[in-house]
Assembly symmetry: C2
Homo-oligomer: 97 residues x 2
DNA sequence: AAGATATATCGACTTTTCCCGATATGCCAA
DNA sequence: TTGGCATATCGGGAAAAGTCGATATATCTT
């Protein structure tokens, strides 16, 4: 758990927004049907209004820090929040930072 | 409480370090005598090993975001952690982000 | 095997952040 | 009121992050 990298990942409006959206996938991505593994890049990109490459980079950055998990299913990659990471971060701030 | 600005403030190694030091002023700044109001800029600057201007900027940045408070006493400015801000941030991460 | 689609990576450009030296401001003591 | 500290602010050069378009890779369909 690299504090500094996590805070950097959270230091961007769009990335914070994406994390919010991923709290309620059904509500925020009504076009997608199944949410078992998360939401796919294309859906997120569309909503974010940035290019595909940018959003893809953002997601893989957040995955490297552990804030989200990625699951490849066929040609799609589904991303979802890693709630354990948020719980751990919350505790870290409470006690160690 | 501006999430984004707080995360930006926490996205720097030196600033994180300073916040750590300020958790235990007596231990980390043994040269200073009274800690009622916090630790003065000069002490922090010396320990950080960056220039006076840089450290001063870092501290006032963290003050603007609410992570620390500043108290001017004579020619010194004492900074200390604002524990409430950390508690609030911890809760925010737990429930809203 | 070829074309279509979803995602990832690369190279480049712009904007922001980092960090410095120089200078200004505020406060104290003589 | 002048000189000396402590801190703050300003201007700038270097490094990092943001963002794009182009291209590569992976997978599915036919």
């Amino acid at each position: 758990m690299d504090q500094l990298e996590i805070f950097k990942a959270l230091s961007n409006k769009t990335r914070l927004q994406i994390l919010q959206w991923l709290k309620e996938p059904e509500k925020n991505f009504p076009e997608q049907k199944c949410f078992e593994a998360g939401v796919c890049v294309g859906q997120i990109q569309q909503k974010a209004g940035l290019t595909q490459s940018t959003v893809s980079e953002y997601l893989s950055l957040m995955q490297r820090t552990g804030l989200v998990t990625a699951t490849r299913v066929g040609q799609w990659t589904y991303y979802k929040r890693n709630e354990e990471a948020f719980a751990a971060l919350s505790k870290l701030i409470e006690s160690e930072i």
